[in-house]
Point group: C2
Chain length 382, copies 2
Amino acid sequence: MQKQFLIAPGPTPVPEEARLAMARELMHHRGPVFKRLFGEVRKQLQWLFETQEEVLTLTCSGTGAFEAAIINFTRREDTLIAIGGGKFGERWGKIAGAYGMKVVTLDIPWGQTAKPEALRDLLAAHPECAMVTLSASETSTGTYHPVEELAAVVRAHGRALFAVDGITAVGVHRLPMDAWGIDVLVSGSQKAFGIPPGLGFVAANARAWERYESSNHPKYYFDLGRERTNHVQNQTAFTPAISLVVALHEVMKLMQTEGLEALIERHRLNACAAQAGVQALGCRLYPEVASYSTTAAVVPEGVDAQQVVRAMRDRYGVTIAGGQDHLASSVFRIGHIGFIDRSDMLIAISALEFALRDAGAKIEIGAGLRAVQNVYAQPVGQ
Amino acid sequence: MQKQFLIAPGPTPVPEEARLAMARELMHHRGPVFKRLFGEVRKQLQWLFETQEEVLTLTCSGTGAFEAAIINFTRREDTLIAIGGGKFGERWGKIAGAYGMKVVTLDIPWGQTAKPEALRDLLAAHPECAMVTLSASETSTGTYHPVEELAAVVRAHGRALFAVDGITAVGVHRLPMDAWGIDVLVSGSQKAFGIPPGLGFVAANARAWERYESSNHPKYYFDLGRERTNHVQNQTAFTPAISLVVALHEVMKLMQTEGLEALIERHRLNACAAQAGVQALGCRLYPEVASYSTTAAVVPEGVDAQQVVRAMRDRYGVTIAGGQDHLASSVFRIGHIGFIDRSDMLIAISALEFALRDAGAKIEIGAGLRAVQNVYAQPVGQ
C-alpha cells in the first residue's frame, strides 16, 4: 500500500476537525444557529486579516472573489495597473480588461519581484490610475512580493486603491491590512484556511467603499454592497456554501489557538525546510524572493519536471504541483500552506529524492532529508 | 432531547453517503482521480437534465448560475421577458436590469401560474425579445408553472431563448430539456441533489451557444465558454468546490439507482402528503398549482405564520421555511425536495399540528397525520 498526501499549493490537507464538521447534517443558513456561528466567523476573519473592516465571505473560488474586488471598487472608464510576474498577477489584469477597463501591466519577468520604484514610475506615468492589483504570493512562480513597500508607493500616489490577492498569503505571511494601508484584501478557502475550495473572502476599507458608490460595472451575484448589508446581520445575500462555512469556523479556531505569530513562523520554517531540501538535491530555486506558501524549483539539466511530478504522485503518493504554462517542463512546486508540518516536508522531499533518481538525476539519496532535518533542528527564531 | 430535522425547500437533508464523502481527505482537482470522477459527474448530470448538452458545474449559488445563464447568452441591448409571480421569477429580471438590459415582466399575482396565452401576447408585443426567463418551480410561493406549454410558446416566437430556473425543479418534476426545447436550464446543489449549497449547474443548447458568440456582457469568472472548453477535458476553468463535486458524484449514484421515474414519483407523493396534511389542519394551499418541491400554505385566521415556523423549529425540532417578503405572517413552506421520504412528512405534519395548537388554532390533533397516512396508503400511481 501507499498512503496519499496532498502537498500542493492548494487545495491543501483538511484537518480532521473540519472534515468531520462537514460530515454533520446541514443547518439552515437563515436559522439562529448559523447566524451565531457566522457572527463568530466574521470576527475570526477580522483577526486573521488584521483589520477592523468587514471581511465578506463569498461562495466562489479565489478568482471570483478577486473579480468582485475589482468590479465593485472601480469604474469602467478607470485605469488599472496590474502587477504581473506570474499567472495570477497577470490574471487580475485580464479581468479588468474583460470589463472594458484600461489595463497597464507592470511587466516583471516571471520569478522576479515587483520593484517599488518601478511601480512608482508607472503610477507617475498614469496619474489617473484608480487601482493597482498585486498577487502578494504569486503561486505560479513561488514569489513573495514586498507588499508593505508597494502599499506605501500606492498610498503616496493618493488616488489609486491597492487591491491585494492574498489568496496564498493570508495566514502564511503577515499581511496586516489596516496597518499597511491595503485597501482591498482577498483570500480563498483552500489555502491557509485548510478547508476545501468554494469560499472566497474580500475585505475593503472606507476608501474602497467610497468608490463602490460610484462603481458602474454591472453585477448582481458579486454585488459587495448587498453582501455587506447582509453580513452585518450575520447573513449572506445568497445561499452560502454552508458546510464550508461550518468547516471554516473550525479551522479558524485551530488558527487562533496556534496564534498568529506561531502560524506565520510555522509557514516560514516549512518554507525554509522545503527550500533547503530541494537545493540539496541540485534543484535551483525559481523565484528571486521565495514565498512561505510555495517552493518553486527548477529540475536539474536533462530531467523533465512533469515526469518528476507524475512519479511523485503515481509511484510515491505525494501530489505536488507542476510548473504553470511555459514552466511545465522545468519547474515543480511544493506547497507548504495551511495545516502542513514537518512530517509533510519529510514526506515530500523523500518522494522528490526517489522521483529525481528515477528520472536519471544524479543525487545523493538522503541529502534532501538531511537538509530538511537540519532546518528543523535549529533553535526557533533562527 | 429533541432530534433536529431540516424539512425546508433547501438546503435539504444530505444523505450519509455524501456527508461521509465530504469527510474524506481532498483530492487535487487537476489530478487523474478527479478527472475520472468529473467525467462521470458530467454524464450523470446529462441523465438528470435529460439532455445531450454539456451541463456545466459552477462554484456559486443558484443565483450565480442563473446570472451566468443570462449574461452569456444575451447582449446588453437585448430585451428580456421575466416571468414573475414570485421572488425568484422576479429576481431574474432584476439581474438583467443590473446588466442594463431592457426588462419586461410578465406580471402574475404571487401564487398564480404563468398563462401561456399571456406570454404569447407579451412576446407578440416584443418581437425583439431575446430571452424569456422562468422559475419552473417558484419556491417563494410553492407554484409549479406549465413549463412545457410555455416552452412551446417561446419556441413559436422564433427568436427568444427560453432560460429556465430549475433550481427546485430539476430532479423533482420531469423537465426534459431537449424534448421540451428548453434552451438554458439551471439548477443548484442544495435542492434535489441533496448536497450542501455551493454548486450551480447550467446547461445550454446549440441555439444558446450561438448567442454566446456575440454576447457582450463583461464577465470572467462566469464566462461559460471558458468553462465548456475546460469541462470537455473533465476540468473546470477555476478551482471547483472539490468536496461538493465528490458529494455530487455520490448522490447522483443514489438518484440513478432509484431511477428517474421513481425519483419524480417520490417527490409527487411527498407533495400530495404534505398538501393533504396541511389542508386537514385548516391551512389553505397558497398556490394555484402546487409544485412537488414545496408546500406553501396559509395559516388559519388569527394565527401568525412566523410564530408557527419558530415553534416548529425551537420546540419541535423541525426547520421549515416561512413565507417570503409580504407573505411572512401568513404563509409557511414545507420542503419535500431531495432525499425526503414518508418519515419526514410525518415528522413535519406532527410538528405542525403541535405548533398550530400552541398558536391557538382550533385543530383536531392527529387529523393531519391521518391525511398524510391516507396518501401513502393508496396504491402507487393513484
